[in-house]
Amino acid sequence: MAKITAGIATSHVPLIGVGIDQGKQNEPYFQPIFAGYEWTKEWVSRPDNKPDVVVLVYNDHASAFGQEIIPTFAIGCAEEFQSADEGWGPRPVPTIKNHPDLAWHVAESLILDEFDMTIINEMTVDHGLTVPLSAIFGQPSEWPVLIIPIMINVVTYPIPSGDRCFRLGQAIKRAIERFPEDLNVQVWGTGGMSHQLQGPRAGLINQAWDQKFLDDLTENPDRLRQIPHIEYLRETGSEGIELVMWLVMLGALTNPKELHRHYHVPASNTALGHIVLENEK
């Protein structure tokens, strides 16, 4: 049977992709950004830890979708996806290959479980999905894992509540555990941490709030589930709301244990956060 073994969360700041694509990892600005991923790269390369499939939770940033269609929860079910041209040409990354049998199984299971997913058979994927892969797997000629994209609207309000995202994660876990193939599956939550990209308050960073959020992924998940949108907006800036996507990962885990944490300010306008959580065996 398929089993969720770990959750990984990371910011998906476009600048991380720029640093990798342009070979700037060792420049002084980038060095502390990338240093915190070294532990994860080594850990994930060990045979017991390397997933067969990653369920990657992210948001589209007006790349694949404009205002014409705004799915709250969507799942990519196609065989493969290409990197989006976000205005300066597509990132030079390998094709994203899906596990379509598992993706369709998860889509069907979620809908039966009362999560009314939008099924996407054709789309490009932007930095929200490709930057986490690059941060953790570097620049391989092919991605070493299959990837199921789960896309969440965190741009046009109302967006789904943190608790709804957590419960989506729980339903993803139920779906995966009912898939007959023996697969090591990880669930990744991406985006965040505190940042605001707009208006006179732009540049807001709240390190204390972010660190408490990282603590409570293992110490007090129930508190995180109940954080209302207004608190994210006030405390973490208008784009810190992306952290609700980490709660999908959290919902898919049982009694997670923290293995590794990385936190650095700044990456562009953003507080970069990254954590590796081991699932209960």
Partner: protein, 134 residues
């Protein structure tokens, strides 16, 4: 009992220096944002840069939206229904990074803005709530 959408949205108006992209804003800025999406195509970026005013004639936007675009007045564009991820297509076409473009909304020079970020970013203290002044 579900939360009232009116109370949910009203709370957003209490955050200093921040416009939340609600459905109301999305309706107001629909064509502005869709115009931004058109700049995802290289041939459209060329046309836009060659003659911005002519390019805008094909779009069903208000004169305010058009003049704010020509002025690259991003705070005004947010007020008129623009969203930052859409507006990013405009400043990317201009060759600006997020940091460069975002700093123009803060009243700070890009150097001062970068120095603030390097020093840990803008503190939330004093900019959480207009009502509470914290």
């Amino acid at each position: 009992m579900s939360e009232s959408i009116h109370n949910y949205k009203a709370a957003f108006d209490d955050i200093p220096g921040t416009l939340v992209f609600t459905a109301d804003k999305a309706r107001q800025g629909y064509w502005l944002n869709q115009f931004c999406m058109s700049l995802m195509k290289p041939e459209n970026r060329e046309k836009w840069l060659a003659d911005e005013k002519a390019y805008l004639t094909a779009w069903n936007m208000t004169e305010d939206q058009k003049s704010a675009l020509l002025d690259r007045d991003y705070n005004r564009l947010l007020e008129l229904g623009g969203n930052i991820y859409y507006l990013a297509k405009v400043f990317s076409t201009d060759g600006l990074s997020f940091v460069q473009a975002v700093s123009t909304m803060t009243g700070m020079s890009v150097e001062d803005y970068q120095a603030m970020m390097a020093a840990g970013g803008r503190s939330p203290n004093g900019v959480r709530s207009i009502k509470d002044g914290n």
